[in-house]
């Protein structure tokens, strides 16, 4: 395996991590909260698509946007009915409640699907690749994931910086109490943010289910990757999160190339190094 190949495959893996991480970044960016069940929602997205594909025979690429729509509606309802009730001056209640959701999702999935690993099949596309030079080939599917992640980052940047909804998101993130006095309904804005987050999470989940096998307890790892990508990239821009995810993917690929046991560890080390030397992240954008 040559070095160029390692970096390219790592960057493509980073595309998937970017989809994982942007959902987390949306919620953190608007509510200053971390959704502990984030990784479990990714796994839930994969199982949802798995069931629909098995029942209908539809292409996973058709099922993915449908799953995103359903997850958006679910996210809106979840925020309005449960998570909004936990928000206040204390930071612990939303963490505890989303941690509880994480446990519930894992156990329901275990009950319904058993601990067996599953995967979503896409047929020949799963192995098709395009040659880039003599020693480098890139899979079509990883390219599709990477392209989707780019598009999602661009769309989120547009929504947050160029629309009135995005302006309201940034205002309520700055100061939720003042925002209310200026006529913004924070509970509703939070529900929109969670809807957007879970739509991205659903896409990430379906793509994850195509790329990897998945089992009910896989969620917490994905939460950690998402969190690491957000921290490496720094807060305030989805391009930063995207870049952080690419760095994480490349780090894991290089670690893995050196020794099959070092892949995940290499990603954690990069994350720790960023925390130590540049805790605001590599691409942070800040008002101050």
């Amino acid at each position: 395996m040559n070095a160029m190949d390692t970096v390219v495959q790592g960057a493509l893996l980073g595309g998937l991590y970017a989809l994982f991480a942007m959902g987390l970044a949306v919620i953190y960016g608007v509510m200053r909260q971390v959704n502990i069940a984030h990784g479990d929602f990714i796994v839930l997205g994969a199982y949802s698509a798995f069931v629909v594909v098995a029942a209908t025979g539809l292409s996973p690429f058709v099922v993915a946007p449908l799953t995103a729509l359903v997850f958006a509606a679910f996210g809106y309802a979840l925020q309005r009915t449960i998570i909004n009730r936990t928000l206040g001056n204390a930071i612990l209640p939303p963490l505890v409640v989303t941690y509880g959701l994480s446990i519930i999702i894992q156990n329901v999935l275990l009950q319904v699907f058993s601990a067996d690993a599953r995967s979503i099949q896409i047929g020949a596309l799963g192995t098709a690749s395009v040659a880039l030079g003599a020693h480098l080939a890139v899979g079509w599917f990883p390219l599709i994931v990477f392209g989707t992640a780019l598009a999602v980052a661009a769309l989120l940047e547009f929504v947050f910086n160029r629309t009135s909804l995005g302006m309201a998101f940034r205002a309520v993130a700055d100061d939720p109490e003042i925002a209310q006095v200026m006529g913004l309904r924070d509970g509703q804005l939070f529900a929109y943010a969670t809807a957007i987050s879970l739509a991205v999470v659903a896409l990430a989940g379906v793509f994850m289910g195509i790329k990897f096998t998945f089992a009910p307890a896989d969620g917490p790892n994905f939460l950690i990757y998402s969190f690491e990508a957000v921290v490496i990239g720094g807060l305030g821009s989805f391009w930063g999160t995207f870049a952080g995810a690419i760095i994480l993917g490349v780090a894991q690929a290089i670690g893995f190339a050196l020794n099959p046991g070092w892949g995940i560890l290499a990603g954690h080390l990069v994350f720790l190094a960023v925390l130590v030397y540049r805790p605001t992240g590599l691409f942070a954008r800040s008002a101050q």
Partner: protein, 248 residues
């Protein structure tokens, strides 16, 4: 037909533990009036605004806007019904530009369409002298410009009642005169203004009526010059305030 009174605060009280910050205060304001609120530091002036804007729930009493009881309404709903306020300690949305700060207030608080909201922003920024800084991030403004932005953002919500909390403090005489002229222009549009201000001469230049608070209670109300010259107000308000400033 504008309802009269436009705003009524009726027998409002608020305690924090054993400390009474608002004691059975009532007031009314009509459209086109400028009601000045005077009182030493800690008299409960800002708490009264917090109760009106919905930041703080009173222990007793009620707030009415255009005849409707709004005591239980959340802050965003009160804003949309016409209560606009500024904060004594300026709290702009630091990550938004000056323009966006006013725009978000006009769009969501003022329920304006995009085109109308942009027109409101242009007008308000011109009025408050912030037009040339419209694209600056609000977090990078000087203290003085933050105060101007407080005023601008409150106006952006399209209020029928405007609550101004010490917007003239720290200004030069000339700048304070500009603020007085602006408040005067706002009043002439039929907006009711309630203005907490320590810069007494600025307040007296435009107030149609003043009330004086001390230790949470209303101790005087009436024609501005008569109130400010009454012996009780001279003793309580001026006396205490001078001592505080000498001590500080």
């Amino acid at each position: 037909m504008v309802p009269s009174p436009l705003v009524e605060v009726r027998n409002v009280s608020k305690r924090y533990g054993s400390l009474t910050v608002t004691a059975n205060v009532s007031l009314t304001v009509d459209a086109g009036e400028v009601l000045g609120i005077l009182g030493p530091n800690g008299a409960g002036k800002t708490t009264l605004f917090n109760i009106m804007s919905g930041d703080v729930a009173p222990d007793a009493g009620a707030v009415f806007l255009a005849g409707a009881d709004i005591t239980k309404l959340p802050p965003h709903e009160r804003c949309r019904r016409g209560i606009g306020r500024s904060y004594q300690i300026a709290k702009p949305f630091g990550g938004l530009s000056v323009y966006e700060n006013v725009l978000v207030a006009a769009l969501f608080g003022g329920r304006r369409s995009g085109r109308e909201a942009n027109a409101v922003c242009a007008e308000v920024l011109e009025l408050t002298g912030l037009m040339r800084k419209a694209n600056r991030l609000a977090g990078t403004l000087t203290l003085l410009d933050r105060k101007r932005l407080e005023f601008a953002r409150a106006l952006g919500t399209g209020p029928t009642v405007l609550l101004l909390d010490e917007i003239a403090g720290g200004l030069t005489d000339h700048e304070a005169q500009d603020v007085v002229a602006t408040v005067s222009a706002i009043r002439e549009r039929g907006i009711a203004v309630i203005w907490i201000e320590h810069v007494v001469h600025a307040l007296l230049a435009v107030a149609t009526r003043v009330i004086v608070l001390d230790a949470g209670a209303k101790i005087a109300e009436g024609e501005p010059h008569a109130v400010i010259n009454s012996p009780q107000v001279q003793r309580v308000y001026m006396g205490v305030d001078v001592e505080v400033e000498v001590g500080a």
